[in-house]
Amino acid sequence: MRSAIRLLSLLLTTALALTILLPGERGAQATPRRGGTLRVALTGEPPTLDVHQTGAMLVLNLAWHMEWVPDRHIRMARFDRYAALPGEPNGYGGRKVAWVDEVVLVPSSEPSSRVLGVEAGDFDLGDWIPADAYERLAKLPGIKTLAVKPKEWIVAAFNQTSGRPFARRELRQAAQAAIDSEKVMQAAIGRTEFFRLDPGLVFREQVWHSTAGQALYNQKNPVKARDLLKKAGYAGEEIRWLTTKEYEWMYRASLAGTQQLQEVGLKVKLGVVDWATLLRTRKDYDVFVTGMVVYTDPTQIPVLNCSWVGWYCEERHQAMMKELATTVDFKARKAQFEKIQAHFYDQAAALNFGDVFSLRIHRPNVQGFANMPELFVWNVWKQ
């Protein structure tokens, strides 16, 4: 009897020890645990976390005692009196729990430093990692790779102010017909895991997504382009295209795009400047490249707004946008937006090259990360 009890005790102790000592198996159950510090490597810091964007995605409602040491970090401690909503997490909404004790956001503008920092364990999570590094990083046991899908779509915006070459619809349509979006995206992004051809002005993952106007997207039709150029009465005016190397994909997309336009007979001059200069001088150029991020409502999309540089102010479009803004019923709004998108392509208001995904990486012990387009770290814990 005593032997049996001893044996049973031994078996129970062994089972308990194995449960404690084999974190891999425990990790498979993914039980959140409180505690630890999460260190996140970002491209920039406030007032713009990314020097090219305003706004920041911080865990403000879950944190208190925020310490900001400029150029070093933003350190946030968990607010213990925050009560999470019941239910499950749901993207940007739903239940939000601050599992870690502290979140430290570190500005690290050099992409290699962010990558090596995560590899070395100095960071737990790294944002905006170059897609070129994906193949190497995917093979490393100490790194988890995540494609951020969607992130932006690449647009070449035409300057449609009166007197400019692209004030003429036929000229814009000629440019649209000439573009081979796949080649542009391959040049811009490289790896197929990180881009997608799609005519939508909102992303496939969103309820607003539509393929209206698809026939005019990615036409890669130089013959049609040349015909449209003749129809437009193009007399060899120089087209000034502006881009920046600060976003490597914008620069590469511009190289490919301008070459395709030149092949059909447009005389294009490429200007390469830094981002601050681009923002300042883009209104003096005929085309500039930028990215459209995720917007929750189509009325927010800048390239559809008359006041945004590009000045897509065509009368019928304006009327449709006004109706979209004043309609309440979603089905009616969706139908209206599809007309807007179809008209966008008919007018060749801008060149939509395709969707871009970005790359994030994290250490394997980081769990619960939702990987939405805008980064947030609620519901994240460290195993």
Partner: protein
């Protein structure tokens, strides 16, 4: 010497004035608008104009320069457009990492460069000399960002011995401070070490050819005594000049290393300010660096005169 030093300080004023004017007007010639950068690429023209008004960017350039210069003379370098704090505060906050990095990099470059140069000179013409000078030549050609990233790959990623990023001040512990600065200091100081090695070698060779060295050898003194006690002290004079100028160069040139290693120093501050068109910070930092450069040069001259009694300033 005191009169010389005072004269040099007075001469700093026109230098300062010229630098301030050149920096101010050159920066404003570059296209780009801090108001637009702050509002963002999606903002409207009206928002940008409103921001320009708030930031005082609509005033004439000359008016803004005179106003800024007047404040700078009272050690008020204005307020950073982006950081929302005085430029002087921003610089002082970031001074420690840059000065620490520069000091350690200079120390490293002297500790490595000087012995290498002396050894090379003493073994002039032999394989050791050729090997050391070839290595110095190669090392001096390596870009510092490449050196930095390679050091991170080896010491942080592969062997996980040292951190790849960040800074710990002295108040957080000497050990921690050094752990964060070893790799950046080596990356920054390596090319200067090569320069010091070559300078030291050239200077030693010149000194070793003198008669008094031959006399010292003939007296039967040990080679180490001849080299260290007699030759090195005289060979150090030009080396000190190089070290002093190196310090100033490293102080101004630590931008790349600060970006690679994520050090919150002045170099990174000025780089980010240029991208954002944060004019007050750019102006303030460049003025600060110019003043430091002139100050270091003056100090080197004074140390020079102190070491070599043959040198006297009128």
């Amino acid at each position: 010497m005191v009169r010389h030093a005072l004269g040099r300080l007075v001469a700093l004023a026109p230098v300062w004035l010229v630098v301030s004017a050149v920096v101010f007007f050159l920066i404003h010639l570059i296209p780009g608008d801090p108001a637009r950068v702050m509002v963002g690429s999606q903002g409207s023209e009206e928002e940008v104009q409103a921001m320009r008004g708030r930031l005082g960017l609509n005033e004439p350039l000359v008016v803004r320069y005179v106003r800024w210069l007047g404040r700078a003379l009272r050690a008020d370098l204005g307020e950073s457009i982006f950081l929302g704090r005085p430029v002087t505060t921003a610089i002082l906050e970031r001074l420690e990492p840059t000065v620490s990095l520069t000091l350690w990099a200079t120390l490293f470059s002297v500790l490595i460069g000087l012995p290498v140069g002396v050894t090379s000179a003493v073994r002039f013409g032999r394989p050791t000399d050729r090997l050391l000078m070839s290595a110095a030549f190669v090392v001096q050609s390596l870009p510092s960002f490449w050196t930095g990233l390679t050091l991170i790959l080896v010491f942080s990623v592969a062997v996980n011995l040292l951190p790849s990023t960040g800074y710990a001040s002295l108040s957080e512990g000497v050990g921690r401070h050094l752990r964060h600065l070893i790799l950046p200091a080596v990356a920054l100081g390596l090319s200067q070490a090569a320069l010091i090695a070559r300078m030291a070698r050239a200077s030693m060779l010149e000194v070793l050819g003198h008669d008094y060295i031959r006399t010292a050898e003939a007296k039967g003194l040990r080679p180490s005594v001849v080299v260290v006690k007699h030759a090195l002290r005289n060979a150090l004079i030009p080396v000190i000049t190089v070290v002093g100028i190196s310090f100033a160069v490293l102080l101004a040139g630590a931008i790349v290393i600060e970006v690679v290693f994520n050090l919150p120093g002045i170099g990174r501050l000025v780089m980010q300010s240029i991208l954002r068109r944060d004019y007050p910070v750019i102006q303030g930092v460049i003025l600060f660096i110019a003043t430091t450069y002139v100050g270091v040069n003056l100090l080197v001259d004074l140390v020079y005169a102190w070491i070599d009694p043959r040198i006297r300033y009128r």
